[in-house]
């Protein structure tokens, strides 16, 4: 079994107008930067993107926003992304804001075949509007539904050819959840090792969740807030 593809094109050309994509990463950390650049290049449109953030104005998913390729965004944080905030406030972009933990759990549920679950997060807030409320052991919870998507785009530190993935430090974040929740999962990785080289006790995403792997070179890994010791 060898899931490695020599160019990113074989992944990108599968992604059609109107597709839904779960994209790993938190801020600019652990984002699939090559796949995002490939999407920008391809010009594919009307995308629904599920990702914790939407990059910054000129990097990451912000590039697709700038190019008006995204129709709907499901995210937990707009943050300092001015274009995201503008397109949201103007109504140009459909945005579903989801609490970060609920977003993580909805993705995890999607990958795990759980259609819905209850959480106290968001009770009594605008997030709860239109959702079923239910009391368990005297506490009120709301029902949240799982998320799956046509494709998951993830970034890993290392992979083997059959698709086992290992992430590095906080670049892990949403990537393993995305990998499991995509009907097809494309992984871009910084390094490829031979099958058997990864410690089986230490694999973060087992190969069953990954359909195709691209080994990228020259990762930019931009930093949003460079803070150093005083």
């Amino acid at each position: 079994m060898n899931k490695v593809t020599p160019t990113i094109d074989s992944m990108i050309e599968q992604i059609h107008d109107g597709a839904s994509l779960i994209v790993g990463g938190f801020g600019l950390c652990g984002i699939p930067e090559k796949l995002i650049l490939g999407l920008r290049e391809s010009g594919v449109r009307d995308l629904t993107v599920i990702s914790n953030n939407c990059g910054v104005d000129d990097w990451g998913l912000g590039l697709l926003l700038e190019n008006k390729q995204i129709t709907k965004m499901v995210a937990s944080y707009v943050g300092e992304n001015k274009r995201f905030e503008q397109q949201f406030l103007s109504g140009e972009l459909e945005v579903e804001l989801v609490p970060q933990g609920t977003l993580a759990e909805r993705l995890r549920a999607g990958g795990a075949g759980i259609p819905a679950f209850y959480t106290a997060t968001g009770v009594g807030t605008p997030i709860a509007e239109g959702k079923e409320e239910r009391v368990f052991n005297g506490r009120t919870y709301i029902m949240e539904k799982s998320i799956t998507a046509d494709y998951a785009l993830v970034k890993a530190w290392a992979a083997d050819p059959i698709g086992n993935l290992v992430y590095r430090k906080t670049a892990r974040n949403f990537n393993p959840l995305a990998a499991a929740a995509g009907r097809k999962t494309f992984a871009e990785v910084e390094s490829l090792v031979h099958t058997g080289a990864l410690d089986p006790d230490q694999i973060h995403t087992p190969s069953v969740f990954v359909q195709s792997i691209f080994v990228g070179a020259g990762y930019e890994k931009r930093i949003e807030r460079r803070t150093v010791a005083r």
């Binding site: 938190f26 801020g27 600019l28 950390c29 652990g30 914790n52 995210a75 937990s76 944080y77 707009v78 943050g79 905030e85 949201f88 406030l89 804001l97 609490p99 970060q100 933990g101 609920t102 977003l103 993580a104 759990e105 993705l107 995890r108 959480t119 106290a120 997060t121 968001g122 009770v123 009594g124 807030t125 605008p126 997030i127 530190w157 992430y167 590095r168 430090k169 906080t170 670049a171 892990r172 974040n173 949403f174 990537n175 393993p176 959840l177 973060h204 890994k221 931009r222 930093i223 949003e224 807030r225 460079r226 803070t227 150093v228 010791a229 005083r230």
Partner: protein
Amino acid sequence: MEGRERILSRALSEIQAGMYVNLGIGMPTLIADRIPSDFGVMLQSENGLLGIGPYPNENAIDPDLINAGKETVSEIPGAAYFDSAESFAMIRGGHIDLAILGGMEVSETGDLANWMIPGKMVKGMGGAMDLVQGAKRTVVIMDHVTKRGDPKIRKACTLPLTGKAVVDCLITDLAVFQLKDGQLQLTELQPGSTLQDVRKKTEADFTIAPALQEA
């Protein structure tokens, strides 16, 4: 700045040795530096790190190692990385002893608003809605009034809520309140602050702790 100093030093006293603590983006992050290292406190970052260390030296900056505020940080010995589902399992499952968050508004019944100003500003809630529901104790720190002098401690929040009746403790530059029987109770005055001053600058009704009444 002096007000901020009062807030931070009072917030610090909420942290006890051995605690697992989440410090929110912004002002709460500034508390990290002040925690005595012999406390063995483990700081959680909801993007997937337990055991945040200080900001790194220039040559140790690592783009794969950031906190929830997207700042480059370091890890301490005993740190662990995990995915976002595991991170919020920790939070939602009640395993984090204390969350310290910033606030835009707090109501007299302990509601918190801190993620959006309709039509004007959307930051998003990030992990705040999960933290206020999941942490064993939620402490909010904020200025007592807005820059324009308007009260931030309201009868009811005017902004979209982050959580209802979730603020266990509120620390401002003027006072400290605890949620007691579902209502804010003034329990401490900050150095230099008076009850009259707090009354004037607070829209919310609040009870006053017996100790303060005698004073």
